[in-house]
């Protein structure tokens, strides 16, 4: 029963209001929560729900997404049969159009049902009860909702998906979503209300607010539990080293960091260094970035591989956090 679902992740979302965070990468590959990428959540949810075949439809630039997913090994998707599939369609725009280029995959699969999901929903969701509801209510297509609003995660039969692809020109539907949202269609539509923590990340503000929410223990524990772990690409970072004189409170810290300074109400990714007498508050520092000595960071999102040099002061506001682009160098002079 559980093995009867295929997973489709539509990672063609345009950067839109993700700004500099999606400058060099697909929104699916935006680093999140200290050691993950946004796609890890929906991908892990599928795997934890027994899905063994996942198709990812990316949009360029997808180098960083491919690099992250690799063979799918870290999600246990490096299988002889089924596994992880990557289906770029450089010339097509619509979701069903893109799928039509990879019909072989759908024809070859013997799963009966398909989950079609976006790539930036942060939640820890079991799809098994979703499938139960789908079968019990004899739905054609089921929409997962949260607080009454669509999460743009759908469940339908593979047969219907193939029909939608096949008839896309007659119906004019570009995507599964379009079919569901067409009030005049004759499809039996059901809903499944997801009760747990769920946020869809569409803007820099969503990204920042959702990240900060994870510093609240109840939210954090709704997302992370030992029974349905969120998988991600394995790095071999050592445990984080808190040097004498460091002061860390109310923070989420990944491995491989060396911390001398002060960190408060912030998220620090893998392999970050924070120098002496630096203060990091209400901020997010992504992997491998280096914060020098005597720096002040408040309401800042530091992307990967950024070097913040000694004495730099960077401040955003809670409403408009300052985003520092991947790989940039921030000196004390440019920032003051």
């Amino acid at each position: 029963m559980k093995k009867s679902m295929l997973g489709v992740i539509d990672a063609t979302m345009l950067p839109g209001e993700m700004g500099d965070l999606a400058l060099y990468r697909s929104p699916a590959a935006i680093p999140f929560a200290g050691r993950y990428r946004l796609i890890d959540f929906v991908l892990s949810n599928m795997v934890n729900s027994g899905v063994q075949s996942v198709a990812i439809f990316p949009r360029s630039p997808y180098r960083s997404l491919m690099d992250h997913l690799g063979s799918g090994k870290d999600w246990d998707l490096n299988r002889k049969r089924d596994g992880l599939f990557f289906f770029p369609s450089p010339t097509k725009e619509g979701q069903l159009d893109r799928m039509s280029e990879h019909l072989d995959y759908f024809h070859r699969s013997d799963q009966k049902y398909v989950i079609v999901s976006n790539c930036t929903t942060v939640a820890n969701m079991d799809f098994a009860p979703v499938l139960d509801r789908f079968i019990k209510q004899n739905c054609d297509v089921l929409e997962v909702t949260h607080k009454g609003e669509s999460t743009y995660i759908y469940l339908l039969s593979l047969e219907l998906l193939l029909d939608l692809i096949d008839q896309r020109n007659e119906t004019g539907y570009e995507s599964v979503r379009a079919a569901v949202e067409d009030a005049s269609s004759s499809l039996i539509k059901c809903q499944y209300e997801f009760e747990g923590f769920l946020q869809r990340i569409k803007t820099v503000d969503d990204y920042y607010q959702t990240s900060m929410q994870l510093l609240e223990k109840d939210k954090w524990s709704e997302l992370f539990n030992e029974f349905q772990p969120i998988y991600t690409k394995v790095k071999d970072e050592p445990p984080t080293n808190y040097l004498a004189g460091s002061h860390v409170t109310n923070a989420m810290i990944a491995n491989g960091c060396i911390i001398s300074g002060e960190v408060n109400h912030s998220i620090v990714f893998r392999g970050v260094a924070i120098g002496k007498n630096s203060t990091i508050k209400d901020s997010i520092v992504m992997q491998k970035s280096k914060i020098g000595e005597n720096c002040v960071l408040e309401h800042v999102i530091i992307d990967k591989d950024v070097s913040v040099q000694d004495g730099a002061i960077l401040r955003g506001t809670p409403e408009k956090p300052l985003v520092i682009k991947k790989g940039s160098v921030e000196s004390a002079v440019t920032s003051s």
Partner: protein, 387 residues
């Protein structure tokens, strides 16, 4: 099987009885170390980083955890089509089950494993030590010196030399004598238990050793002395850097504390010589609003709300509010209850320390906090309170 220039044989059957309850259900090489590793991660990572991709791991004592930990070796990038990691447990022959009676007999019983790779050299390692070493450099030295055997040695403090197997050498590092734990050491070059043999020589001497009924089948006690007696070319390879035998509760604790000492030469953060391990896949650590973390190593999955100073926390450890840990090593998934105080101790994994437990340590020794220890400790406390 394609030919391999050098095959490594890693002796991982050690019981490590001086590690007490830590090795009750666990072989010594599987003992956790450094917040996320097991001891065996060090030799396995050294092999991978040295470009030695064919490693036989000889297991015997309590192999369950060790076997499942090693798996097919993918954590160390040693899952190879040709070679890779092979776990080699003792096996039964038609007549009898042959346990590994000594280090030499363990290798002897697996000669067929080595033969299938037709190597020129065999590297013998043990799974008992914490160190980073490039075995390929040692192999170059072995080849350059045209030695039959190269033995890696390290200078130890003279006052400790009688605890080790000591190599006496001439000025060119030719080994002239080997003394196992000498009362009056004449050299302070200790054997690190790392040998490179010419495969042909090793094979011959292992066969001779096996047929000698008086032999204890040990490299240090039997094979090396026999080779010396036959005037083979044995040469010492002087190693500089961090190396520690973590055979006792105290030395295991010390090695963990060495990770916090910037003066020590054991850097886990060195990118070019990563120590690999099986990833527990846990979320980032959470440091609470009342926490104080000083001079400590903390792994993924920890939730710290209390005070930790000079300590090493393995994955999934929880330290509740107002709990204080000083100079402690806390093994995976232990929980330290609110208001507790523990100093100079190793806390066993999965242990629940009840609220307000106070464990002081005025001795020179390191406490091993186990369920048994906690029971006795609680009894003692209540007796003190009654009095």
């Amino acid at each position: 099987m394609a030919k391999q220039k050098c095959v490594a044989m890693l002796l991982a059957g050690g019981k490590g009885s001086r590690l007490k309850e830590l090795t009750e259900n666990l072989a010594k090489p599987a003992v956790p170390f450094g917040g996320k590793y097991r001891i065996i991660d060090f030799p396995l990572s050294n092999c991978a980083n040295s470009g030695i991709h064919t490693v036989g791991v000889l297991t015997q004592y309590q192999p369950l955890v060790l076997n499942s930990y090693i798996g097919i070796g993918s954590a160390w990038d040693l899952d190879r089509k040709n070679g890779g990691v092979t776990v080699l447990p003792p096996y039964s022959e038609s007549s009898e089950v042959k346990w590994y009676s000594g280090t030499a007999s363990a290798i002897y019983q697996n000669l067929n494993y080595i033969k299938q790779y037709d190597p020129e050299y065999v590297l013998i390692l043990s799974g008992d030590h914490i160190y980073k070493m490039n075995y390929d450099t040692m192999l170059d030295y072995h080849i350059e010196k045209q030695a039959d055997v190269t033995i890696s040695v390290i200078e130890v403090p003279w006052e400790e030399a009688s605890r080790f197997g000591i190599m006496n050498t001439d000025a060119d590092f030719n080994v002239t004598r080997f003394d196992e734990k000498p009362e009056k050491p004449e050299s302070n070059l200790a054997s690190m238990g790392i040998y490179i043999f010419k495969w042909s020589v090793l094979q011959r001497y292992l066969e001779m050793d096996e047929s000698n009924p008086d032999s204890s089948n040990d490299f240090g006690k039997d094979v090396i002395p026999a080779m010396l007696a036959d005037n083979l070319k044995l040469i010492a390879y002087p190693f500089k850097g961090y190396w520690k035998d973590v055979g006792t509760v105290k030395s295991l604790w010390e090695a963990n504390m060495d990770l916090l000492d910037e003066k020590q030469d054991l850097n886990l953060f060195e990118y070019s010589w990563r120590i690999y391990s099986v990833n527990p896949n846990q979320p980032p650590q959470i440091i609470g609003s009342k926490a104080k973390v000083q001079h400590s190593l903390v792994n993924e999955g920890c939730i710290i709300d209390g005070v930790i100073e000079q300590s090493v926390m393995f994955q999934g450890v929880e330290v509740e509010e107002e709990a204080v840990l000083k100079e402690c090593v806390v093994m995976p998934n232990a929980r330290i209850g609110r208001g507790s105080y523990i100093e100079r101790a190793i806390v066993m994994g999965d242990l629940e320390i009840p609220e307000n437990t106070v464990i002081r340590n005025d001795s020179n020794d390191i406490l091993l906090v186990t369920e048994q220890f906690l029971m006795e400790h609680t009894e003692q406390q209540s007796k003190v309170e009654e009095a």
